[in-house]
């Protein structure tokens, strides 16, 4: 990071919070295609601090898993990446998050634009009470696509991308509420894909699903990383080990360890990481 950039970042920190944060020296990592860079991120819900000085670089076109016990801030962190966390009015943040080298907390940066690039799949399948087609076409429509043929193509491509086209191609006009939980979640993934995002955030996407649906979603995640960068919060360490390339371990709002998944699970550097993955707590 050069001087000018650093000054800018500091200025931003000062603008966003009353107390200026002292920048910590970070270990220089080789910059291999990181798509999101988080620097010294702090977050408060009112007066409760939920994230402390989180810094990490999310690699492009890989699966990054975020693990940690309940209440460790992993979902909060995920929702900060597309600024959904600001839906809670009392949230304050400081620090910097750069998506493709652009500061997402900048006042000029539109959160609507960010969210078209950084899509999200939620913990509970949350389709709209509309048909499968209208669910998937929702994103393209809000971004101004009206032509039926174009929408048809997007819907088909997205449902294929979410590996659910074959199951649903004859049921496009059915209400999405009538689908099984696993199908609903894959429709939600298709819906996220239809906006053609760059990054997909997944907040425990399988926690409400049965084992078979879970396996399907996990398989899908593997296919999706060809085209998308995926960040997945999971409660399930086996899942993180199975599907992710990199894993971040959060505890009490701090990022304890962030490494290649194999390394983190087989050779954790931090005692707390080791305790957690060996099941001593959490």
């Amino acid at each position: 990071m050069n001087k000018v950039m650093e000054e800018k970042t500091n200025k931003k920190v000062n603008q966003r919070t009353a107390k200026p944060e002292v920048k910590k020296e970070r270990i220089k990592k080789e910059k291999t295609n990181s798509i999101i860079e988080v620097n010294d991120l702090n977050l408060w819900y009112g007066s409760d601090q939920a994230l402390y000085e989180v810094s990490m670089e999310v690699p492009e076109k890989q699966v990054t898993a975020i693990i940690g016990p309940s209440g460790c801030g992993k979902s909060t962190f995920l929702k900060t990446l597309n600024r959904m966390v600001e839906m809670v009015p009392i949230v304050k943040t400081s620090g910097s998050i750069k998506y493709r080298d652009q500061e997402i907390f900048s006042s000029k940066y539109k959160e609507e634009y960010l969210r078209t690039k950084v899509g999200m799949v939620f913990q509970k399948p949350n389709p709209f009470p509309k048909s499968v087609y209208d669910n998937v076409a929702y994103g393209p429509r809000i971004h101004g696509i009206k032509k039926k043929e174009v929408l048809d193509q997007i819907v088909e491509k997205s449902l294929k991308g979410a590996a659910i086209w074959d199951e649903l191609k004859d049921r496009l006009n059915e209400n999405a509420y009538g689908l099984s939980g696993g199908q609903q979640q894959r429709v939600c993934i298709a819906r996220a894909l239809a906006v053609e995002p760059d990054v997909i955030l997944m907040d425990e996407p399988t926690s409400a699903l049965d084992p078979i649906s879970t396996a399907k979603v996990e398989e899908l995640v593997q296919e999706l990383k060809e085209k998308y960068s995926i960040i997945i919060v999971t409660h399930n360490m086996q899942q993180a080990a199975r599907i992710s390339d990199k894993t971040a371990f959060f505890l009490n709002g701090e990022l304890i360890e962030f490494a290649d998944t194999d390394n983190l699970f087989q050779n954790p550097h931090d005692k707390r990481t080791e305790d957690y993955i060996t099941g001593r707590f959490g």
Binding site: P89, P129, H143
Partner: protein, 292 residues
């Protein structure tokens, strides 16, 4: 030992079951009180009014003789009034509810406004009549006209519609709002495409129930000068008008017995319109709920 224990339980159980039965009867009787009076009301109105109810009655203007009198002016006046009330009250009410629920900052001031709108819903209707007299009749110089009456009634039911619409908007699940925002939708897009479609059954039900209240209101319209006897239909917003409840009120005040029956027929028409409106509310609700 065990046997005795079991007997104790049995004994106490008999008591519990008995209490349950007594309460069931009491609650049933409470329901019956309401039902009995409703049946009596229907019986009285029907027996008194049915003799005077005919197509002529519906299509006649008021007349000096009971046999020739009709409710046409009141019926059409009520319909016109309701159209004005619906347009103003629903548009302003829903917009207010959306602002309060989705845009307004969540602070003490917003909460203060919210509580006071609820209080406003309980203000006696005659107070709204005085408000309408001051503002619409005199200050805006509308006089005793249809628009003055309509706006007064719109104000009267506005709080009810705001509260109903707020509840409908609030009951839209946060998950589907998040889904919309998560794809880069703006607030307005989310409101127009997700929140309002999901809230419409609740909003319409609330609006129609509020309108049903307005169609039976008499007091505020007497104050803002609805006419008691009128022989033309209102031809513009600035025309004189009357409504069914006022017409009925006027008839009941006359000494001859026949007018009571004429009034009874009027009540039947009013109840029929009310029933029609409520059925529409139920139909709309069912239609949209099936789509969910």
């Amino acid at each position: 030992m065990l046997g005795q224990n079991e007997q104790n339980i049995k004994k106490r159980m008999e008591g519990r079951v008995a209490i349950n039965k007594v309460l069931m009867v009491l609650f049933g009787m409470a329901t019956a009180v309401g039902l009995v009076f409703l049946v009596l009301l229907f019986y009285r109105v029907l027996t008194q009014g049915i003799g005077y109810l005919s197509l002529d009655y519906i299509l006649n203007f008021p007349a000096p003789y009971p046999e020739e009198a009709g409710i046409y002016a009141g019926l059409i006046g009520s319909v016109f009034l309701m159209i004005i009330v619906a347009i103003f009250a629903v548009i302003i009410g829903v917009a207010t509810a959306i602002y309060l629920e989705e845009y307004a900052p969540k602070n003490k001031f917003t909460e203060f406004i919210r509580v006071n709108i609820q209080n406003l819903a309980g203000v006696p209707s005659i107070v709204f009549g005085l408000l309408g007299l001051t503002f619409f009749v005199y200050m805006f110089n509308f006089g005793y006209t249809l628009i003055a009456g309509g706006l007064t009634m719109a104000l009267l039911i506005l709080p009810v519609i705001v509260v109903a619409a707020q509840e409908a908007v609030r009951s839209v699940p946060a998950e589907i709002k998040e889904a919309s925002y998560g794809m880069g939708a703006s607030k307005w897009q989310t409101i127009a495409r997700v929140i309002l479609p999901a809230a419409i059954p609740g909003i319409l039900t609330g609006a129609i129930i509020a309108l049903s209240r307005a169609i039976g209101e008499t007091a505020p319209l007497i104050i803002v000068g609805a006419a008691t006897a009128i022989y033309t239909l209102p031809e513009s917003l600035l025309a004189k008008y009357t409504v069914m409840p006022i017409q009925i009120y006027n008839w009941t005040g006359r000494p001859q017995e026949e007018w009571q029956y004429v009034a009874g027929a009027g009540i039947i028409v009013l109840l029929a319109v009310l029933l029609l409106m409520n059925s529409i509310a139920v139909l709309i609700r069912n239609k949209y709920q099936r789509r969910l």
